[in-house]
Structure formats: C-alpha cells, structure tokens
C-alpha cells in the first residue's frame, strides 16, 4: 500500500495515506485529478473493481466528500479515494464510462444528497424515493424528526425511557 502511494505521488498531487489495515488505505485526491487517478489505478495498477461510491456530508466545513473504493482482486488490496468539494451547487464528474455500475451509485447520490453528476445515464429518474418534495433526505441539514412529525401522525401514549435508568429501576426498585 505504501509503495503504491509513493508511486502515485510521483504522478498526482495526492494527500497523506491513511492506512487502516495493511490491505486497506485511503488517500485524498483533488477533484480535478480524480479521473486520471482512477484510470491509472484501474488500467495500470490492477484496481479493476469499483466496490462502492458513497458520500459524507461535512456540514460544518460546508463540504461534501465522495469516497471511491477500489479493489485489486489479485492482491486483495483495497484503496479508497476521497474527494472533497463544496456543498453549494454540488456536482462531480461522472465516472459511469469507467465503471457502468457507477451510474446506479450516482443516481442514488443525486437523490439522497442532491449531488449532480452531469452526463450520467437516468440520473434524474426516481431511484428509491417516490414523489419526494423536500431537500434530499441524507443531507445533514434535513431534519428527519421534524419532517416525520409534520407528515405522519403520532399515536398518543408513547413513552421513552433511558435504558440505564429504566433497567436500574426494574432490577433494583429500592435503590440498593
């Protein structure tokens, strides 16, 4: 993993390597260098399998982070590429032409985070939600409790207990 990181650093302006396991590492890539890095990993380094493409909402830093996790099937090594970009008018280059499966991930990210991937097939079709009429629900500024209260009726009489206190009361009612 370290050797790979050093080889990549000669080619692309990568960030530090975070090595979680000997066979799993993460590096940060500037958005402009994402595609060449992915292509290099796929065609020259044997990372042919796109395991997943997922997003993190860094609300406080006003950033979205995409993680492209690639796997090398012959060595069993995984590398994750992290890309950060601003939340306002969030958009990222589509990679559906590198891995066709990416189109499905990108559809989901468009729906759940509102990240645009121009050119990705069927991007604006509904993926999981039907008739959604609010901001994308996986964004952290979306208040899911408020939405649930406004849309779905509560049944009166629901109680909530702190598990620790409740079990203490159940097991030791006289406070012993």
């Amino acid at each position: 993993m370290r050797a790979l990181h050093i080889r990549l650093q000669h080619l692309f302006p990568l960030g530090e390597l975070t090595e979680q396991r000997p066979d799993l590492g993460f590096v940060t890539v500037p958005a402009a260098y994402l595609r060449p890095t992915l292509l290099h990993l796929r065609d020259r380094e044997g990372y042919t399998h796109l395991v997943l493409l997922t997003a993190v909402d860094w609300l406080e830093e006003d950033l979205f982070q995409l993680t492209y996790l690639l796997s090398n099937r012959s060595t069993g090594c995984d590398i994750g590429l992290r890309v950060k970009f601003p939340r306002q008018a969030a958009h990222m280059e589509s990679i559906h032409d590198l891995w066709p499966t990416a189109a499905t991930y990108q559809r989901e990210l468009r729906e759940m985070f509102g990240i645009d991937f121009p050119g990705s097939p069927r991007l604006h079709e509904e993926f999981i939600l039907e008739g959604w009429n609010d901001i994308p629900p996986y964004r952290r500024d979306f208040d899911t409790l408020k939405y649930a209260r406004a849309n779905y009726n509560d049944r009166p009489g629901r109680e909530t207990h702190d598990p620790e206190q409740h079990m203490k009361q159940q097991l030791y009612p006289d406070g012993a």
Partner: protein, 217 residues
C-alpha cells in the same frame, strides 16, 4: 396538484390481433369506477353468526411481506409452527386472500402497494398489524419515509405487539382474530367503505405521487 397518470393508465390506441384499432381508456376499461359499499349482514342474526363462524375458519393470508416481520411468517408455514392446522394458509394473489398482514414498518412507497393490494382483496377482509412499527412507528418513529400509525391508512382489526412478535404470538393473534370475527367485530372492510374519503385523504397526504385510480379492484 393533479399528478399525471402512469403511461399504462393513459388513454391510448391499441391494435388487436385481428388488425382492428381501438381506443383503450384503462381507468374505465380495466378498473371499476364504483367505490366500495357497505356490505350488510344476513337477514337474520343466526345466519350471520353461522357465516362468521365459517369465515373465522378460512383465513387466507396474502403472501405480502412489508418489513422485517415478514421473516416471522416463514416458520409459520413450515412444520415447526404449522399455521395450516388452524385453517390458515397463504395465497400468492390478493384476489384469493382475505387477510392482509402488515408485517412491520411500512415505508410510504410500500404503503402505496399495500393499499392497492388491500383494495383488490374481496370482502369480508381483515387487516392485522404486526409489530410496534405498525402501532406507533416503533424504532422508525423519527424516520422520514415510514408511516407511524397504520390505522390512519387502512382499517386494522387487530394489532400484535412485539419487536418482532414470535411465531407463537402470531398464532395467538390469529386465534384472537378468529374470536373477533365470530363475534362480528371484524368489520374493517365496511369501515373502509364508510370512511372512504377520510382514508383516501390520509393516504394522499403522504403519497405525493398519486398516479393510480382512487379505488383499484
């Protein structure tokens, strides 16, 4: 806002096998426009009691699993718990079933399908809500896409509590449902017909892309 109908529900020209072209209006031709009506009991109470006794002994469940609770139905079908000895069996289509078990949380997307399935079942029909999710939302009480009270959207005859209820609890619940039916208290289908507008307005409040007929049977 009026939602545009799905392509298969829009008026279109169809060419028959004999080469004749004709117009199809799916909402009128494939669906009945008549809304559900209240079915009155038999002319004399003892006959109605006999009917109810017979109904209680043929519970045909629609094999439609909505949440994680569907996993509790599998052991009921197999020799370990064997619900068939109680006169309960599963059917693959709503047309052949009279009991809809909502087995756990119901997302808005699934609710749409559940309503269609319920409306396609024949009266008298019963609904059992299974698990705490159908009662008050359960662990999905703050979720953006699951309903919290099933009885807002369809008439529920019986709830079985638990998260999840075990197959034994389901069997006990089915026995309770039989008692309700024999007592003539499982009148969900009539309730649905009586308060149809109320149920429809509740359903349309959460299903934002209503692109189907108001009553589909």
């Amino acid at each position: 806002m009026e939602q545009e109908l799905k392509p298969e529900l829009q008026i279109r020209k169809v060419k028959g096998p004999d080469g004749v072209e004709f117009e199809v209006e799916p909402l009128r031709d494939y669906y009945c426009e008549a809304l559900p009506t209240v079915q009155h009991g038999a002319y004399i109470q003892i006959v109605e009691d006999f009917f109810n006794w017979a109904r209680s002994h043929s519970l045909w469940i629609l094999g439609f699993g909505t949440g994680c609770g569907a996993i509790e139905m599998r052991p009921l079908m197999t020799p370990r718990f064997d619900a068939y000895r109680y006169g309960i069996q599963w059917r693959p289509t709503p047309r052949q079933a009279n009991l809809l078990v909502i087995s756990g949380y119901l997302s808005v997307k699934t609710l749409k399908r559940a309503i269609r399935a319920y409306e396609q079942m024949q009266s008298p029909k019963y609904v059992v809500g299974l698990g705490s999710c159908t009662i008050n939302g359960g662990m999905y009480w703050d979720s953006y896409n699951t309903i919290k009270r099933l009885d807002d959207y369809m008439p529920v005859d019986l709830y079985i509590v638990g998260c999840m209820p075990r197959p034994e609890a389901l069997l006990a619940g089915f026995e309770d449902l039989k008692k309700l039916i024999r007592a003539g208290k499982a009148e969900g289908a009539n309730q649905y017909a009586e308060k149809f507008d109320w149920y429809k307005s509740n359903q349309k409040r959460v299903i934002h892309d209503w692109d189907m007929p108001d009553y589909s049977w």
